[in-house]
């Protein structure tokens, strides 16, 4: 007797709750995760592939799923890593992460033939030049994706680190001698 009423009661309860949840799911449906859209808008969008993903959209999707670290985008640097971490609520320990050295391309004028192959592939139009004229890279616009290096027939394009001048020199962080506590990066 009890067994029957137990079975009936629980089944009915389960069905009823399931129905309610089903109705709720229809009204509270979330289309595409707006998180992915937001992440994609944060990323540079140059599809350079330095993060290891096929482009900025797949990288955003991987970030949303937690499959990629917040520090994966070299052109974005630590500023972007912080923004991604803030959006996803991740604990970010930037002190361990080495700032990825931003490299910019430079044309070696001695060997440039003016073939124009490089500026056709540059995603940010950072290379200026004309056919049979020596090309030059506008370092401010270069994002270091290396697409130009792949197509250059004379290998006159090389990557160089950004030059440190009085304008972009920065103070280093003071390093205390007492043992750095792990509180900042500790995981519960």
């Amino acid at each position: 007797m009890y067994v029957l009423s137990a079975i009936v009661a629980l089944s009915l309860l389960g069905l009823f709750l399931g129905l309610l949840l089903g109705i709720a799911a229809k009204y509270l449906k979330v289309e595409s995760s707006p998180i992915v859209e937001k992440l994609e808008s944060l990323l540079p969008g140059s599809q350079c592939g330095q993060c290891g993903f096929a482009g900025c959209r797949p990288a955003a999707e991987a970030l949303a799923e937690g499959k990629a670290a917040a520090t994966m985008c070299p052109p974005g640097g630590s500023a972007l890593a912080e923004q991604i971490a803030a959006l996803l609520g991740l604990d970010l320990d930037l002190s361990d992460v080495k700032e990825p050295e931003l490299l910019v391309a430079r044309v070696s004028e001695a060997t440039c033939t003016g073939c124009t192959r490089c500026f056709k592939v540059c995603p940010t139009d950072a290379i200026v030049g004309a056919p049979k004229q020596i090309h030059a890279v506008v370092a401010d616009a270069c994002i270091g994706c290396k697409k130009c290096i792949e197509v250059c027939p004379t290998e006159c394009l090389q990557m160089h680190p950004v030059e440190v001048t009085l304008r972009n020199w920065r103070w280093n962080k003071p390093t205390p001698l007492f043992a750095e506590n792990e509180a900042s990066g500790a995981v519960c």
Binding site: G45, E82, T124, L166, R170, K173, P176
Partner: protein
């Protein structure tokens, strides 16, 4: 009783040991031997660097224009002595990094010959705009260390209708006494410079503020200002950093400059006594800024003194004149010990901002053995800007820079009071300088990221437009061809 409710006139600050006795009691030395080479940076001021108009090999006279100012905020550079231009190239800058900046190297010929200068009988007949023009042409910048072009400040003062000009004779940094000696020995010239500034800004009155640890300077300036009732000379309490403009304005006028605003917006402007003296020389005698008085002091200096040197003198020459023991020197500082820059070596030149060069021994320096913060909050009570250094530094240490910015990192003036007072020897100011640099770097990265997006979008749009145009041309060609064929077929039909 009422004072209980009014805000205190002095916020924070520390009373550091003055250590000025070694240099403040002797007169300024004027017989500094002329160096063989002078290294003159093209940027000794806030704003755009000056652009050279001389070439290598040119012969120049003392005071001759070497580089002209560029843009609204800039200052020209003049030859500190007569000689030949050796080079215009990159040399190490007087900066903690000693990274190169463009300099003019002048080889002196020993004659120290002035160019022809005009002495003006009555400069008060000149129009106020003319005063600013001459001050600008003389390359005068803020001599207290800020190096803001004085002409621009005078013009801003005139436009904003300043009612009080404050002359900063505080010299609150320990060791430094160049302004003290200047006020004692050249009080009349300084007051003349003040009068010229008042005329240039069309301002009624001026107040000269002198810290009370300089009684002779006060007496000298008071005597010089006696014939001019609109120039008051007052004494202010000795407390670092009384010379900070907001602190001084708050003490002298009782008004507080709001965060993010300039002092001219509340009708006050400040100039250093050295700037007033340079203004007098420029307007009365037509002499541009080519030299300045520098305090050389510190435990490693055998003959500490105040000495007038031509700009561009290498610190090594200064040190050999003052008999500095390089083995005892643990740190070389340009400026004062609280806010000055630590220089890596002596092969760097003195510039318009150099109020002092210190050679400090190890026991004059604070211990660098950083201990954990004990939250004693001494730093909070000494901060003149009313910030919370301990919270800012603790957040910076764990890389929460946005929290530090929210706590007021941008208002920190790097005065060093907090580092000075910290019992745990935490280098607080270094944390703030690091954080400011890091925040600036991230903003630049943000800009670059946005710029990259714009460039990529523009390129994609261009590519699409080109593709569309090609498609349209293709379509047009096809339709034209069809049209021609149709016509041909029609003609043929007509013939048959």
């Amino acid at each position: 009783m009422l004072s209980f409710f009014t805000k205190p006139r002095i916020q924070g600050g520390v009373h550091a040991e003055e250590r000025k006795a070694a240099t403040a009691t002797q007169p300024i030395i004027y017989n500094f031997p002329l160096p063989e080479k002078l290294y003159i940076p093209l940027q000794q001021h806030v704003g755009k660097p000056a652009e050279p108009l001389i070439r290598v090999g040119d012969k120049v006279l003392k005071g001759q224009l070497l580089a002209y100012s560029q843009g609204m905020i800039s200052a020209p550079v003049h030859a500190p002595s007569s000689g030949i231009i050796l080079d215009v190239n990159d040399y190490p800058a007087p900066h903690p990094s000693a990274l190169p900046i463009r300099m003019i190297v002048l080889e002196t010929d020993g004659k120290d010959e002035w160019m022809t200068t005009k002495t003006i009988a009555d400069p008060f007949q000149l129009a106020p705009e003319d005063i600013s023009l001459r001050v600008g042409a003389a390359g005068i910048v803020g001599m207290g260390g800020a190096t803001f072009p004085t002409a621009v400040k005078l013009n801003m003062g005139r436009e904003n209708h300043i009612d009080t000009l404050i002359i900063n004779g505080a010299e609150c940094e320990p060791y430094l006494s160049c302004d003290d000696r200047l006020m004692q020995e050249r009080a009349e010239q300084i007051i003349d410079g003040v009068r010229l500034m008042l005329h240039g800004m069309e301002t009624e009155s001026a107040v000269v503020a002198i810290e009370d640890n300089k009684p002779q300077a006060y007496l000298a300036m008071q005597a010089a200002a006696m014939p001019y009732p609109h120039i008051k000379v007052i004494q202010i309490p000795t407390r670092y950093p009384m010379g900070w403009d907001r602190q001084l304005i708050r003490y002298v006028t009782g008004k507080e400059v709001p965060v993010g605003c300039r002092s001219s917006e509340i009708g006050v402007t400040i100039h250093n006594v050295g700037t007033a003296y340079a203004t007098h020389k420029a307007i009365r005698h037509g002499q541009p800024l080519v030299s300045r008085v520098i305090t050389v002091s510190g435990g490693a200096v055998a003959s500490p003194m105040n000495v007038e040197v031509p700009l561009g003198t290498l610190i090594s020459e200064l040190f050999s004149f003052c008999k500095v023991n390089s083995e005892q020197t643990a740190r070389i500082i340009m400026g004062g010990p609280m806010m000055g820059d630590s220089l890596p070596h002596t092969g760097l030149p003195t510039v318009k901002a150099t109020s002092g060069i210190l050679a400090l021994t190890q026991n004059e320096l604070k211990s660098t053995d950083e201990q954990p913060c004990i939250r004693c909050a001494s730093c909070v009570s000494v901060c003149p800007a009313g910030l919370r250094p301990l919270d800012m530094a603790n957040n910076i240490r764990i890389n929460q820079l946005d929290v530090a910015v929210d706590l007021g990192l941008k208002d920190c003036i790097s005065c060093g009071c907090c580092s000075y007072i910290c019992p745990s020897n935490i280098p607080l100011v270094q944390y703030f300088k690091y954080a400011s640099g890091e925040v600036a770097a991230r903003q630049q990265a943000q800009h670059k990221s946005e710029q990259t997006k714009r460039l990529i979008d523009a390129r994609n749009a261009r590519m699409e437009r080109i593709a569309r145009q090609q498609l349209e041309e293709e379509q047009a060609r096809i339709t034209a061809k069809k049209e021609r064929e149709r016509l041909k077929a029609a003609e043929q039909e007509a013939l048959t």
